[in-house]
């Protein structure tokens, strides 16, 4: 126990005040006149005893009140460490991230955790937590050794990326809901790449004592060399394997802590090695290997790039991806009679995109009466504001069922009150060229799929188009828009705006499908968008977004989400069940989840087979986060800083932390609040007793 404000203890002098009042100050009794004492007799002893008893009670209450007030101001505190080890909650955290698969790391961590549990006092409560992408609490705080042991033994290594930031966040949440001090034992390989960008994210609350149990040497020894397939660039769809322009796979082989070496890289398609290359990987560097062409059969092919005979961390020696070979999908472009140029520009851009596997079919708006839009990957309405009603209805049904439409509102839209399919009214038409000027793009939502940059994630760039599409979205700022219609954006997502705030690109979800509205034309009359390279990138991204091919194949990262349906299932919405088959061939979704789930987290590495709500199938290759391949541990000084034991070795053995370091780390728990409550009770009691005494005196007077 200690005092945070010991100077207030000087107030103990005030305790002399009640002593003076009750003991030193003579009690004065006022004599009361009476007619005659002839009938009275003396009675001294009884009265004196009575008075002393009452005074002592009041005296004690006043002393207690003053003492409690002084103590409260002195702010006493207790250190919880004094409660003993059994009063602490023991958290056993085992890292089961992907890197723990290397060597015997995971087995060592488990063994160490079991030893710790065996050494813990029987009365101490403990909790087992597995720590991968996020902390996974496996038990409640219990004393049952059997339950804790079985929970510990049930932990399996995962393919997730470990994040100490997420661990810190989870432990902080546990600490907030727990009153007792926490002793956290972390069994991990202490990967440097698992650290968050901000060290403060992994700092633990003061009441948590962190004891680190690294399963690898963190100082004085270089990490084991490790080669890995860092990234794979491959087409998600391949219409023609002989098209050398698209039929190629490019893989980046990276080495962490490795000497310069020659590695053999193989391309495995559907379980068969189809090609082998030797590549010279520089020391601690990267090398690119390319396979061309790739011969895949129709349908989905499960492909893998594998490094042969690489190192001790075999789990990251391969990268998987899926390629779908199919005939080019057809795209319908409907244009008005006054707009002959849009088809030219849009068609060229679609053909120029590296990933393009579409065939554009162009017809006039007046010829669409008997066209069935469901045969097309997506539909483009270029300034085709006036449509046959039967085709417009077909389009609406097409969108509701999961189809997508791109609407470009050219000059014809100014004469109509409503945009077809999109369903919103035209508020105004801005003709910027009328004033001899133009409008530029002022705001872009780069998170939108059709506007995303192709180089946003190198590790999954095999599903990106690369090449011509790899233009950044900032290219939009150079565009000049001479004409744009203003549409009510109330029910839409505004992807881009002009400088004057006019929505330029809007996305509206209707049923299962989306309608993308460009508030200007696709020709070079209303804007100069078709004349800029960004147009090719936009068309490529938009085509893959609208056709949905971007999500049908390719590869993902473990713990990423795949969107299974665009809207929540409702009783009136007759959407199909979704289906997911994990790499082990199991169906992780229950029937009710299959009817309602919107997204699914890919927690395992391997191939997932997915059926979306619109009935389309996909195969996804899921790879672990490649940051897990960098096995370099956190520097010793950083670990010491984290555990708060910079002056002593953090390489704690598999036993609870010593009490001394725990006491220094544990917080002081102030108890002034309880003392103030006691003081309040003493004050009330003093008032009652004192008022009773004074009341008697008044009556006697």
């Amino acid at each position: 126990m200690g005092f945070l404000g010991p100077w207030f203890l000087g107030g103990l002098v005030a305790l002399g005040l009640p002593v003076y009042i009750h003991l030193l100050r003579r009690q004065v009794t006022v004599p009361r006149p009476f007619s005659s004492l002839m009938f009275f007799e003396r009675g001294i002893q009884s009265s004196t005893r009575h008075r002393r008893l009452r005074y002592l009670l009041l005296f004690a209450l006043r002393l207690a009140l003053l003492l409690l007030l002084i103590l409260a101001f002195a702010n006493p505190f207790f250190r919880r460490a004094n409660a003993g080890a059994s009063g602490k909650l023991l958290l056993v955290v085992v890292d089961n991230s992907f890197s723990m698969r290397a060597g015997t790391r995971f087995a060592d961590a488990k063994q160490g955790a079991l030893k710790l549990l065996a050494a813990k006092p029987l009365s101490q409560r403990a909790q087992v937590i597995a720590f991968g992408h996020e902390p996974q609490v496996l038990t409640l705080p219990i004393q049952d050794m059997g339950g804790l042991r079985s929970a510990l033994q049930g932990i399996e290594p995962s393919d997730s990326y470990g994040s100490f930031g997420e661990l810190g966040r989870g432990i902080r949440a546990i600490a907030e809901s727990t009153q007792t001090p926490i002793e956290l034992h972390l069994f991990s390989d202490m990967q440097k790449s698992d650290m968050p960008a901000n060290f403060a994210d992994m700092v633990l609350p003061p009441k948590v004592t962190l004891v680190l149990h690294p399963v690898v040497k963190t100082s004085g020894q270089a990490p084991p060399p490790n080669w890995t397939v860092e990234s794979i660039e491959a087409p998600a769809q391949l219409p023609d394997p002989k098209d050398l322009k698209r039929s190629h796979v490019q893989a980046v082989i990276a080495g962490y802590g490795t000497p310069a070496a020659t590695r053999t890289v193989s391309l495995v398609i559907n379980g068969k090695v189809t090609a082998t290359r030797s590549v010279d990987v520089p020391a601690n560097g990267r090398a690119t290997v390319q396979f061309q062409p790739i011969d895949v059969p129709y349908g989905f092919s499960r492909c893998e790039v594998r490094i042969n005979a690489a190192d001790g961390f075999a789990a990251d020696d391969a990268g998987v991806f899926a390629v779908q070979r199919s005939d080019p999908e057809r795209v319908l472009l409907v244009h008005s009679s006054s707009d002959p140029r849009s088809a030219l520009y849009f068609g060229d851009a679609l053909a120029a995109a590296a990933e393009s596997s579409f065939v554009l079919q162009v017809i006039g708006a007046e010829q669409t009466a008997d066209v069935d839009p469901s045969k097309y990957a997506f539909v483009v309405l270029s300034d085709a504001i006036t449509l046959p009603s039967i085709f417009e209805n077909s389009l609406v049904q097409y969108v509701r069922g999961g189809g997508n439409v791109l609407v470009a509102a050219g000059t014809s839209a100014a004469h109509h009150a409503r945009i077809p399919v999109f369903g919103e009214n035209v508020l105004d038409a801005h003709d910027y060229s009328h004033d001899g000027g133009f409008a530029k793009v002022g705001q872009i939502d780069s998170t939108y799929p059709a506007m995303s940059e192709s180089n946003e994630a190198a590790v999954e760039s095999n599903d990106a188009s690369g090449g011509a599409a790899a233009k950044d979205a900032t290219g939009w700022s150079d565009l000049k828009f001479y004409y744009a219609v203003a549409v009510d954006p109330a029910h839409s997502r505004v992807v881009a705006r002009l400088m004057d705030g006019t929505p330029l690109l809007l996305d509206k979800q209707i049923g299962e499908g989306h309608v993308l509205l460009l508030a200007s034309g696709l020709d070079n009359l209303t804007n100069d968008l078709p004349l800029h390279p960004v147009f090719v990138s936009f068309v490529d991204h938009a085509a893959r977004y609208l056709s949905g091919s971007g999500r049908l194949s390719g590869s993902r990262v473990v713990d990423s989400f795949v969107q299974l349906r665009t809207a929540a299932a409702s009783p009136g919405n007759q959407s199909m069940n979704v289906d997911v088959i994990d790499p082990d061939g199991h169906r992780p979704l229950s029937l009710s989840e299959a009817r309602s789930i919107q997204s699914f987290q890919l927690t395992r590495a391997g191939f997932y087979q997915v059926r979306f709500s619109n009935g389309r199938d996909a195969v996804l290759g899921v790879n672990p986060d490649r940051r897990e391949s960098d096995l370099e541990p956190i520097p010793e000084d950083v670990l010491q800083l984290w555990s708060g034991a910079a002056d002593s070795s953090s390489q704690a053995p598999a036993q609870p932390a010593d009490a001394a370091s725990g006491e220094r780390k544990n917080p002081a728990d102030g108890i002034w609040w309880y003392i103030m409550i006691l003081a309040l009770i003493a004050a009330v009691a003093e008032s009652i007793v004192a008022s009773g005494y004074l009341g008697t005196q008044r009556e006697e007077a």
Binding site: T29, F34, S35, F39, F40, E41, E700
Partner: protein, 301 residues
Amino acid sequence: MMQRFLDPAVLAGISSLDLLAKTVVDGFVAGLHRSPDFGFSQEFAEYRAYTPGDDLRHIDWNLFARTERMYLKRYRGETNSQLTILLDASNSMNFSSATDGSVQPSKMDYARFTAASLFYLAIHNQRDAAGLIVFDDEVRNYIAPSTRQGQLHRLLAGLEQAEPRARTDFSKPLLHFQRLLQRRGIVIIISDFYEDPESIVKTIEPLRFHGNEVVLFHVLDPKEVRPEFRGPAILVDLETDQRLEVIPEYTRNDYRRKVDAHIEQLGDRARASGMDYHLLVTDQPLDETLREYLSIRKGGK
């Protein structure tokens, strides 16, 4: 409604004894009209034939005019009584249990009210001679009984000047009483009688032997009869300055028993000696004392 003016707490607010006595007696007499027992104005008695030597002023000339015979009209004669009040002005009469905010009169005030009311009733209503003797351990003031003009004011002034002091001693002023009370009448002694009942009665008995109607008005404060102490207290005797520490247990039990015995013994002893005894507690109305006086007056007629 007038009865409320007999309440001592109300009377304590009246500073003038004259007004106080008038208020009390008028209120009391107004209350008497309901009673047929009291009526003692001059009454016709009989006619008697005139005999030489009779006072011609008593001849009923109206009857002579009708009958031509002279008759004397005779009335029932009235005798004027003499009221003498012996007022104890010792220090113990100064006791009052009044606390802050209450208007309970002291025993001396109550005695003054009583005496003033009796004087007013005697002089103003009954045409009696009235006198006052104020005493403690000796006679401090004497106003001879008289029916002269201004007698009431003299008596009231005597009451006003009667401030309590010294201690009670009946034996010493008794000789003066006997010397001063030559004529028989009504003697009212107003005191708290803090002495042995036997000695009190023995001292006062000679007045009775002289043919006086003696009445003892024993004035006590309610807190003297039933004192209430919640805690131990130090009491000071008003007459002797003696200090005594007392406890509530004794006051609640033994003291009350002793006081009750004292009152009972004094009353019994007084009545045995042919004297009337009345206990006046200072929170009681004054009509009891007035009624007592009138009853004596009627009985002695």
